[in-house]
């Protein structure tokens, strides 16, 4: 050991250096946030909790085509459909296993009807896995909570450009009658 090193040890030079830095930082702005008291606004287009789009008449916009389930890389979407009384297609169950989702948003991209979105809500930690297995009603209420009003539409216009808005199909077709009349 050299004399210089010995002196450093005896006079606690390293400690004093550290204390000096601490003292200096006391007079600068804080970098960390005091989450959860202090929350940060997500960036536009953030991919958070899933929601099913609710139409103005209160029903889900989803027609049950199952393209979201087909494209989903983690296979966490399950759609169950059946035939209704007037032979229409009814979505009986629409389920997302949120805990398995990888937030790629392929489902949003695949949906020809803009019926599923990823909202900017991210605080949905839960105590059970069941809470993260979301059914149709829960996904619809997510839309009401996080995407209601203009926000939802703006989100689609800005970040997703689903192909349905490109369709130049005329209004008398069986399926698009509904969609077009909705506007």
């Amino acid at each position: 050991m050299t004399i210089k090193g010995l002196a450093k040890k005896i006079f606690l030079i390293e400690i004093l250096k550290g204390m000096a830095l601490t003292l200096k930082m006391m007079f600068t702005h804080a970098v960390t946030r005091q989450y959860p008291e202090e929350k940060r606004e997500p960036f536009p287009g953030f991919r958070g909790l899933h929601a099913l789009v609710r139409k103005e008449d209160g029903t889900a916009r989803c027609v049950g085509c199952g393209l979201c389930a087909a494209i989903c890389p983690s296979q966490c979407i399950h759609v169950y459909t059946s035939e209704g009384v007037s032979h229409e297609k009814i979505v009986d169950r629409y389920e997302i296993e949120v805990s398995r989702c990888v937030y790629c948003a392929f489902c949003v991209e695949a949906c020809p009807f803009r019926a599923v979105v990823l909202t900017d809500h991210f605080e949905y930690a839960a105590y059970t896995r069941d809470d993260l297995y979301m059914g149709k009603e829960k996904l619809l209420s997510n839309w009401d909570r996080f995407m209601a009003g203009k926000k939802g539409n703006e989100y689609f216009e800005k970040f997703w450009h689903p192909l349905s808005s490109d369709f130049s199909a005329s209004g008398n077709q069986a399926i698009f009658k509904k969609i077009n009349s909705e506007g």
Partner: protein, 868 residues
């Protein structure tokens, strides 16, 4: 040798085929919409256009034939642009409702549009509108989606021969419709929906319930309805069945199906399915646990065996059980219970006919492939309508007729009405006289001298009936018979299709002898129609009172010994009782216990009242079935077995083809063989099978026909026994075969009487299909058929109800008018509970064949009171 170059690849072919076929044989894909392998070329969709050097315009590859040195390009820019343009035309009217349409994902048009475009259309005209038609109970038509490829119409006309649908209107307004414009009035084969490339014609059974990409598993299996054994694929998502579909070009049916195979599979999910074992206590069937049920059944069987001896126990096997089940069943009844009283419904016509032919020709089983029918140069159909008993076999006859092969039918064969060169419809129950006259005329035509062999001498001794006499008895014009004889004598390798009806007569054995003689004279190949998927298996696996597995008679000592050594049990060497004997002895109280697997005996044997009484005399009736049937309703112990699609196993079809059926879904219950081995264990004989492989390897050791057979062989394409085994070979003798007394045939049926004739219906051949919701929606209630003259006399019209009574009972049934049946006949089916011809018949047996006799049932008819 023809050499063509397609996309730079040299292809050498022997035969001149179309460019499309040549390309496909070399693995080059050319897109098509209107072309289908089972149909003739049409050239309508223009998607298979290709560029051929030295031909200035693009050519449709499905219609142009290859020539030597032809150079073809299938994916040049010009071709791709043309295809794109064709698709743009098709999409003028085709709606873009893929998210709703169930076809999306397996739609040819969708795939092609994804491959070639176009992404937008340039046509400003609105799309045509056409409301979806739900007039039909099982088929939905959405004609907005129709692309007029006419595949369905060509399938219906040319392959199925039903001609039930047609293109309606012209140009862009064209669509497909059945002639009624609403419901289909056809055989409901549904082949139209399997060839539709888009979602225009679809099944309603799984509408909106699936997407093609949801399907996790495809399980190959065999249809469970008749003896043809068509290949079908069960598609499963998770643990539930999505649908059962054929695969085009696969199996002996080549992807074609009949109504039962296509729509009838939903009995698997029927509410009548048994879920837990039941035991009768205080006169009521009560739910119990499996172990209780096994113990109860075993205790009662042991008790009866000790008190009355083995001879008081009998077993009846069903034609829908797998080979493995019925093998174990006969082993249990024979070895463990020590009784040879084991039989099945196959012994009511199928097995006796085989045995009869075996005595004469040395081989009785159908030894030809079903596809071979269309290769013969003549077809003689007798004793039933093949298009309703074995529809896919019937299609072969229709195809043969369309190729110009003469088809002669005897009796009521409505399905071959437009496909028969000569239809002989004798008066009811006078077929024997007709066969005698056909034989005597053939003897003359063929210049038959006879006398070389014992059978020839027998033929020689059959006395003749002149055509004049036959005209009188059968009510057939002499010209008709003469032309039939003419055609028969010109055939060199004809197929002879024989149904049950001709045997189930008082003269059934004479009919068989006459048919054998005719067959001998014209060198015919026999096809025995089979009503159950494993009827042949029942014969092969020894579910007969006098035969051991492998079709060997029980009296062959060396074989019996081998059997005893392999299974480790001793068996009795006396013949057991046949099915009719079992029922008669149960009636008189000699048989005390019957075990039945997979058969609704009460409904499927005439007469139901007699069988019901016989069964209620029993001390123990054990029924193993997957559905709650009338028979199970009388049982003391009901054991739920797994149904088709829920278990593995093998079936042997009427041409001896062994086929494997896979397991698609889980079900409540156990396999029949497992139930039997559990009971056997309780009776202190542990069969010790771990799985099906153990059973098959034992069968392979026991049965000479199935020597060395494995599941690999069965799952392969062609496994027709004797696959590696020894063919049937035992003594052929005509001893005891009498020359029929022709004088007794000269009875003329009384004109003023009306007879009931068994109508083997297409939709409900027996009691199984009524548990299928889809088939029941097509045909919800039994219908009797009468001639218009008779209907007028009774003052009933179509849709009215008819009261049909005999000494045995009476039933009420709706009436349908059919011009093609004789006036003194009422056709009655037997398919609904308590409402069939078997409910109003007497217990009568043929003295030789020991099968029930269906003729001579005189009925009284009157119009039933109006129903509310």
């Amino acid at each position: 040798m023809i050499t063509v170059t397609i996309n730079g690849k040299k292809i050498t072919l022997e035969k001149q085929v179309t460019v499309l076929e040549a390309a496909r044989s070399a693995g080059i894909k050319i897109p098509t919409l209107c072309h289908h392998e089972t149909l003739e070329a049409f050239g309508g969709c223009r998607l298979c256009l290709v560029e051929i050097e030295k031909i200035p315009k693009l050519q449709t590859s499905c219609t142009i034939y290859i020539t030597d040195g032809m150079v073809v390009h299938s994916e040049t820019e010009r071709v791709v642009n043309a295809r794109k343009a064709m698709l743009e035309f098709l999409l003028i009217n085709h709606p873009l409702d893929c998210p709703y349409c169930d076809k999306a994902g397996e739609c040819d048009l969708q795939d092609l549009a994804a491959k070639y475009g176009p992404t937008t259309g340039r046509f400003a005209e609105g799309k045509r509108t056409h409301p979806e038609s739900y007039d039909d109970p099982v088929i939905v038509r959405n004609m907005e989606r129709c692309i007029s490829c006419t595949r369905c119409v060509r399938m219906c006309d040319k392959v199925q021969g039903a001609s039930a649908i047609s293109m309606v209107n012209r140009t862009s307004k064209t669509f497909v419709e059945p002639f009624s414009g609403k419901r289909y009035d056809c055989e409901y084969c549904g082949n139209c929906l399997s060839v539709c490339p888009v979602g225009a014609i679809m099944s309603r059974m799984y509408k909106h319930k699936y997407r093609p990409w949801y399907i996790d598993k495809n399980i190959n299996t065999i249809c469970s309805y008749c003896g043809v054994g068509c290949s079908v694929t069960a598609q499963v998502k998770g643990d539930s069945l999505v649908r059962v579909v054929p695969e085009m070009g696969k199996g002996l049916n080549k992807g074609l199906l009949c109504v039962r195979g296509r729509f009838g599979y939903d009995y698997v999910n029927s509410s009548a399915r048994l879920k837990t074992p039941l035991i009768r206590r205080n006169g009521e069937l009560q739910q119990v646990t499996w172990s209780e049920a096994f113990k109860y059944a075993a205790d009662r069987l042991r008790d009866i065996k000790e008190r009355y001896g083995s001879e008081a126990i009998a077993g009846i096997a069903g034609g829908r059980c797998a080979n493995e089940d019925i093998y174990i069943f006969q082993k249990f009844i024979r070895g463990v219970l020590g009784s040879n009283n084991i039989d099945s419904i196959a012994n009511f016509s199928y097995a006796p006919a085989q045995r009869f032919f075996e005595r004469i020709f040395g081989q009785g089983v159908t030894a030809n492939s079903i596809q071979g029918i269309s290769n013969s140069d003549g077809i003689f159909v007798v004793g039933g309508d093949p298009t309703s008993i074995n529809p896919i076999l019937g299609l072969q006859i229709r195809a043969a007729y369309q190729q110009g092969i003469p088809v002669i039918t005897v009796g009521d064969t409505p399905g071959l009405k437009r496909f028969a060169t000569c239809m002989l419809k004798p008066n009811p129950f006078t077929e024997t006289a007709l066969l005698v006259s056909l034989l005597s005329e053939l003897k003359v035509k063929k210049q038959f001298l006879g006398g070389n062999s014992s059978f020839e001498r027998l033929i020689n001794n059959i006395s003749a009936l002149s055509m004049k006499e036959v005209e009188d008895i059968c009510g057939l014009p002499t010209d008709n018979i003469a032309s039939a004889v003419n055609m028969l004598s010109n055939m060199t390798n004809p197929s002879i299709v024989i149904g049950k009806d001709i045997l189930q007569r008082t003269d059934g054995h004479i009919n068989l002898l006459l048919l054998s003689a005719i067959m001998y004279l014209i060198n015919g190949r026999v096809y025995l129609l089979s009503e159950f998927p494993n009827e042949q298996g029942l014969v092969d696996m020894g579910c007969l009172p006098d035969m051991l597995p492998g079709g060997r008679p029980i009296e062959i000592e060396s074989f019996k010994k081998r059997y005893e050594e392999i299974v480790g049990l001793n068996i009795s060497s006396t013949h057991g009782l046949s099915l009719s004997g079992i029922i008669e002895n149960a009636y008189t109280g000699k048989i005390k216990a019957i075990q039945i697997i997979g058969e609704n005996v009460l409904s499927n044997i005439p007469d139901s009242n007699y069988v019901g009484k016989a069964f209620s005399n029993l001390e123990l009736l054990i029924v193993q079935d997957s559905l709650m049937t009338e028979t199970a309703g009388l049982a003391h112990v009901v054991l739920p077995s797994l149904s088709w699609l829920e278990r593995k196993g093998s079936y042997t079809n009427l041409e001896r083809r062994m086929q494997f059926m896979g397991k698609a879904v889980e079900g409540d219950g156990l396999e029949d063989w497992r139930i039997i081995s559990e009971i056997s264990k309780m009776l202190s004989f542990d069969m010790g099978y771990k799985g099906l492989e153990d059973i098959l390897s034992e069968i392979a050791r026991v049965s000479p026909l199935h020597k060395d057979i494995t599941y690999n062989d069965i799952s392969g394409d062609e496994c027709i026994w004797p696959y590696k085994g020894e063919p049937l070979r035992h003594g052929v003798s005509l001893e005891g075969m009498d020359v029929p007394d022709i004088g007794s045939l000269l009875k003329k049926p009384a004109k003023d009487r009306v007879y009931a004739v068994f109508d083997k219906e297409l939709f409900h051949p027996d009691s199984l299909s009524r548990k299928s919701a889809a088939i029941s929606s097509i045909s919800p209630e039994p219908c009797s058929r009468v001639n218009r003259a008779l209907a007028d006399r009774l003052s009933v019209s179509e849709g009215d109800y008819l009261n049909i009574s005999t000494d045995a009972g009476s039933i009420e049934m709706a009436v349908k008018i059919d011009e093609d049946i004789p006036e003194n006949v009422v056709m009655i089916p037997n398919n609904f509970e308590g409402k069939g011809i078997f409910n109003i018949m007497q217990w009568k047996l043929n003295p030789v064949l020991k099968c029930p006799v269906l003729d001579g049932n005189e009925v009284k008819l009157k119009k039933a009171e109006a129903r509310s």
